[in-house]
């Protein structure tokens, strides 16, 4: 199998790679130096190269990265920004933390390349507050980069310069939404903004801004180093490149595995993550974080981890944070906990989301406690209808999708919980 010969590039097994000397010894910052010093590498050429590579965002939505960069308007001499989204908070997703710890300079180099491409004057890396120990590690790496002249004015003795800051979050999932993230950097409650205007038109402090996920930017130096053609041949044709698969739940070897995109789900579970714990049978797979619709065990045959294949199977790639559930899993309790997460994390700005997530929790809790009514299942789906596509951001969708698809795909399990108990207490005690 081809994947067995794949050598990790984002998280290569090189000891102390977070030390800048080790990173440089393995070709680190060469891509940046080449782009900044070779006149052939204009910002436009870099954007074209990233477009040609086919790189798609790794934060969940999977939007084409080069295309996103090209939305930035021409420079007008005023500030413009790059935001790095390291807010990673969706249950099942834990990949960016590994880049911050094991290969921070790859992210720094990728962010600098992106800043050059979009002509940003400052980079803000938004990292979730819970990662305090990892923020410290990332800041150590950033200091090293600053000391070597990769950050600040006249980088690599060229006219290009950029400021580079870390902004620490304080615990709110909604900050992973790009416009909420910008509000949070501006020192406000993280309420998502109406779009349009999109961040490229009106972003941070009203100025043009591009937001990319940590893993997305970590791919950029690889594209420059090896070329767009080389990159686009890795993995699935329409969703190419290395992917950090975060595998958790009931598997023998959970963790973050770097492999080409388009890996078969069955291979990820049985060959890579060592199979289901305790030799149990598989019940369900949530392929890309808690918002992605779960697949039943009988739905995963032949399905690969890329946007096209997962869409055909009725799910999504999301963040490739795969949660594996064994045959003993209580899907009602799992769905209740997912619904509680979205209810807690709804910013409360839009009524369908604020109220809808609360109603989902209330009904699912009733079902989990054995007090559900058969009509509750249709009621859940009706509430999902009232939430999807009716709010400023996609959090309401992210809350509704797992409810809709879990209820539909595991309906018998939910119905069984809604039936009156067969062991009802008799009215009179038989003699």
């Amino acid at each position: 199998m081809e994947w067995k010969r794949y050598r990790a590039l984002l998280l290569p097994p090189i000891p102390n790679l977070r030390d800048i000397s080790v990173y440089e010894a393995h070709g680190g910052y060469e891509a940046l130096r080449r782009v900044l010093t070779d006149p052939a590498w204009s910002p436009e050429r870099l954007i074209e190269e990233v477009k040609a590579s086919g790189l798609r965002g790794r934060g969940g939505a999977g939007f084409a990265t080069g295309l996103k960069w090209s939305f930035m308007p021409p420079p007008d001499g005023r500030p413009r920004y790059l935001c790095v989204n390291g807010d990673e908070s969706e249950p099942g997703t834990f990949k960016d933390r590994q880049i911050l710890e094991y290969n921070p300079h790859l992210l720094i180099e990728g962010a600098l390349l992106a800043a050059y491409a979009i002509r940003a004057s400052a980079i803000y890396v938004y990292i979730r507050g819970e990662y305090a120990d990892w923020i410290d590690r990332f800041e150590e790496a950033l200091e090293q980069a600053r000391a070597r002249g990769y950050v600040g004015a006249r980088i690599c003795d060229t006219d290009f310069g950029v400021a580079f800051y870390v902004h620490k979050g304080a615990g709110a999932y909604i900050c992973g939404e790009e416009s909420a993230l910008m509000e949070s950097i501006e020192g406000k409650r993280a309420y998502p903004r109406q779009k349009p205007p999109f961040p490229a038109q009106r972003g941070l402090w009203g100025r043009p801004t591009t937001i990319n996920n940590v893993e997305t930017l970590a791919n950029v130096p690889l594209i420059v180093r090896h070329g767009a053609q080389w990159y686009s041949r890795i993995g699935a044709p329409k969703h190419p490149g290395p992917i950090l698969y975060g595998i958790s739940g009931h598997v023998n070897r959970p963790g973050v595995y770097e492999l080409p995109s388009g890996m078969p789900i069955e291979t990820l579970i049985y060959e890579i993550a060592g199979g289901v714990r305790g030799g149990k049978r598989l019940k369900a797979v949530i392929p890309g974080g808690s918002s992605t619709p779960p697949l039943r065990a009988d739905q995963i045959a032949g399905i690969t981890m890329d946007a096209e294949s997962l869409r055909a199977a009725g799910s999504m790639m999301g963040t490739a944070g795969m949660v594996v559930l064994d045959e003993d899993t209580d899907m009602v309790r799992v769905l209740l906990r997912i619904a509680e997460f979205y209810h807690h994390e709804s910013c409360g700005q839009c009524t369908p989301c604020r109220e809808g997530t609360g109603w989902l929790v209330k009904i699912l809790r009733r079902i989990a406690q054995g007090e559900g009514k058969p009509s509750d299942l249709d009621l859940l789906l009706q509430i999902c209808d009232q939430m999807e596509g009716r709010t400023i951001c996609a959090l309401a969708d992210a809350a509704a999708w797992p409810v809709r698809h879990t209820v539909q795909r595991f309906r018998e399990e939910f119905e069984a919980r809604c039936r009156p108990s067969l062991v009802a207490v008799p009215e009179t005690i038989p003699s």
């Binding site: 990790a8 099942g92 620490k168 304080a170 020192g187 739940g249 060959e271």
Partner: protein, 185 residues
């Protein structure tokens, strides 16, 4: 006499340095709230007012931000705040049972602080360490991975003795197939 709630000259210099990172003073609010919480333990009304005054903001705006984010404490809490993740991946690995164990062990309910003021127990939303769950975070910082009842009991004892666990890396998982592939070639 020094006022009870004030930033030192050194801290004010640090705040001025933070302000220079952003085009508006308002944007320094989250980092300054972090500073204030680390200094005073939690964001009481007086601390909120101090932060507001320092950044020339309305205290209500500052309070609005402080209450939006779960990691800012707008109520007094114990010396050790234990945030146990009970979200999806941790849940299916038994985190809800661990939460009950912690509650029984410390004699408090979710969200409460022990009478000696040592521990606050909270269930929390995803901590982003799903591959090494169940996981717990101490004082908004230190993660403890792969929890079990025994490890929790041990942790409580360590904290009672004032010993904070060290930062622990979760190593990247082994890739046994790589040896297999290289022996093929």
């Amino acid at each position: 006499m020094e006022p009870e709630y004030a930033f030192t000259a050194e801290e004010l210099a640090r705040i001025a340095e933070i302000r220079r990172r952003y085009p508006t003073a308002r944007a320094a609010l989250m980092p300054v709230l972090w500073m204030a919480q680390e200094k005073f333990g939690w964001l009481s009304r007086e601390v909120i007012e101090l932060v507001a005054q320092t950044l020339s903001l309305n205290p209500a705006e500052v309070y609005g931000v402080a209450t939006f984010y779960t990691m800012y404490h707008t109520q007094a809490c114990g010396r050790y705040v234990l945030d146990l993740c009970t979200c999806l991946s941790c849940q299916v690995l038994g985190a809800e049972d661990l939460l009950r164990h912690l509650e029984e062990r410390l004699g408090v309910r979710d969200g409460q602080t022990t009478p000696d003021g040592l521990f606050t127990v909270r269930h929390t939303e995803c901590l982003g360490a799903c591959g090494s769950g169940p996981v717990l975070m101490i004082n908004n910082r230190r993660y403890v991975h792969r929890l079990s009842q025994e490890r929790l009991d041990q942790l409580i004892e360590e904290l009672r003795q004032g010993r904070m666990p060290e930062f622990a890396s979760i190593p990247l998982p082994e890739r046994p197939w790589e040896q297999e592939a290289s022996s093929d070639s």
